[in-house]
Symmetry: C2
Subunit: 107 residues, 2 copies
DNA sequence: CGACAACTTGCCAATTATTAGCAAGTTTAA
DNA sequence: TTAAACTTGCTAATAATTGGCAAGTTGTCG
């Protein structure tokens, strides 16, 4: 499992495109693609649906990869052990069960 | 496993303090503590060490709780399933192994 | 029903973070 | 050495987060 940037670079190479060509469909210029592949900035979330189509991949899975990247960055920023992801998962489950009980189906 | 805000509120109640008193040692006024307990804004990270001491708790565990809260918020913002946390963990492990191979011990 | 303490929320200005794009520099391969 | 592909530094614009005050709730006690 690679980072989102590395994943993008691999997909781009599969298609034999350079950064300029790859960015075209999303209106992203070469230098931005470079920064994205190198993890210096995020792929714009608003283009993620288009990206999934372009890559012929499942949107939800792609989104998971995308968001996971952010989570990892956050965890490393705070120098957390990987245990933090387990804690997060149980907090998430807790929140959902709480909201179900309160009738807030919004999850 | 509760949210960080709920956790704080529980700890405060254990000590029998009101929000004003609880915020005192960290220089945080009542309305801010309220927002923090209700998850409307973050406890300042710069005071987390002091908080751990004040609560007599292990700093790393407290930090995990604190950061996990952020991760959950992010995951929900993007409407991700809990699978995202597992993906994140494996991405994190991948990054670490990659950095070890490159001699960057910085994790 | 007041009155008071404890708490929540809305709003705003100020700080902080993130972004897009260009310019300049680096790498790679012929 | 040259050119294409890529990376990085810088800056102005945009977006996100914060602290604090004011105004509004809630809950309890007499």
């Amino acid at each position: 499992m690679a980072t989102f940037g590395e994943f993008l670079r691999a997909e781009r190479n599969k298609k034999g495109l350079n950064q300029s060509e790859f960015g075209q469909p999303f209106g992203i210029i070469m230098t931005e693609i470079s920064k994205i592949e190198n993890g210096r900035k995020k792929f714009p979330f608003t283009s993620l649906v288009a990206l999934a189509k372009f890559l012929g991949q499942n949107y939800s899975e792609l989104k998971n990869l995308y968001v996971a990247d952010k989570l990892v960055e956050e965890a490393h920023k705070y120098e957390c052990s990987d245990a933090v992801f387990t804690v997060a998962e149980s907090q998430s489950k807790y929140l959902k069960s709480k909201n179900v009980k309160q009738g807030k189906i919004k999850f």
